[in-house]
Symmetry: C2
Subunit: 205 residues, 2 copies
């Protein structure tokens, strides 16, 4: 492109995370919901998103619905593919955080190492690991998608909690016991945590 000789105000400075954050009026970060299938991760994440959105925060939710057939549509269920699945989700979340957005990510993400690798992509305080903690027997009893039944019947090999491990977070930023709390209580736990740490602070309130 020709350089302009008449106008020196064209800056080559690229917009950055701080520009987007300043405009949005709040910090950007990722709320990473991890837990067993049926623990309520996705419901919790989207209700938290709704509340943040209603308060004027800039948010986006990543879950199986928008990544499984999209960016990760080429991946299967081998161990390597599951790890790559989580790696890419982490990288996508990082782009959204860079764009000033509060990202909510709801994935079983059963391996500690994979979650820690995602955490390492972020600056301190940007990755909030939320353990959606619900006993296996309760998850299996709910079985909203009939997956546990299929897994017990041997139709879904390597199903987390049945014949594949779930490695609980050792020091998550927050644990929400969705086997004990009701829906509002669970959502409130997350919002209280965020308020307490001023993580999504916007207006004086």
């Amino acid at each position: 492109m020709k350089k302009s000789s008449t106008n020196v105000t064209w800056q080559e400075r690229r917009l950055c995370k701080e520009d987007y954050r300043l405009r949005n009026g709040h910090r950007s970060l990722v709320l990473w919901f991890t837990g067993l299938s049926g623990s309520g991760k996705s419901t919790l994440a989207h209700l938290v998103e709704e509340r943040l959105f209603a308060k004027g925060r800039y948010t986006y939710l990543l879950d199986g619905d928008n990544v499984r057939h999209g960016i990760n549509g080429d991946l299967g269920f081998t161990e390597a593919d599951r790890r790559e699945n989580i790696r890419r989700i982490g990288e996508v979340a990082k782009l959204f955080v860079d764009a000033g957005v509060i990202v909510l990510a709801a994935f079983i993400s059963p391996y500690r190492e994979d979650r820690d690798r995602v955490r390492a992509l972020f600056a301190p305080g940007e990755f909030i690991e939320i353990h959606v903690d619900c006993q296996l027997d309760i998850c299996e009893q709910r079985d909203p998608k009939g997956l546990y039944r299929k897994a017990r019947a041997g139709e879904l090999p390597d199903f987390t909690g049945i014949d594949s491990p779930y490695e609980e977070p050792l020091s998550p930023e927050l644990t929400v016991e969705t086997g004990e709390l009701d829906v509002e209580g669970s959502v409130d736990r997350v919002l209280e945590y965020l308020d307490r740490h001023a993580l999504t602070w916007k207006d004086p309130e």
Copy 2:
């Protein structure tokens, strides 16, 4: 998660593209800048972003700087990897458009088929292909990163324009001749196009 019996206002409806767009006050779409190395894609994209941002639009820029070592850090330069590179960028752009954001993507993206595959991910009117059209000899003369020199020396095999083809768009939404126009003129071309089609319309103006 236990269901609440006391509060029936909890909705399970997920926030969607229209919610984000309504809040942001403008359409979301992807501006896909394609062209030779040195054609000015990245400069043009980030100056357009700056102008849109200054007008209050919600924007994000994808280019080599934030995807090469991130989401696509596992990819090399084989033909298959280059295609996968563009596929993933398209899918990431789609997530941002879903989040209500105007995405600017600046990549050589030399193959028509790859670009058309990205286009097919979007609803009509959401994918704006911008051909950043500059003659090879001018790009090579500028050679801002010294890549043409390396390619001519045989150090960068399969370099687009030298020993790998660039397939020009057959019917791009817009062509910007950056060999003819100066920087402001190029930026204005893009903004005029967007205004003419009311693509990033926000306030009555």
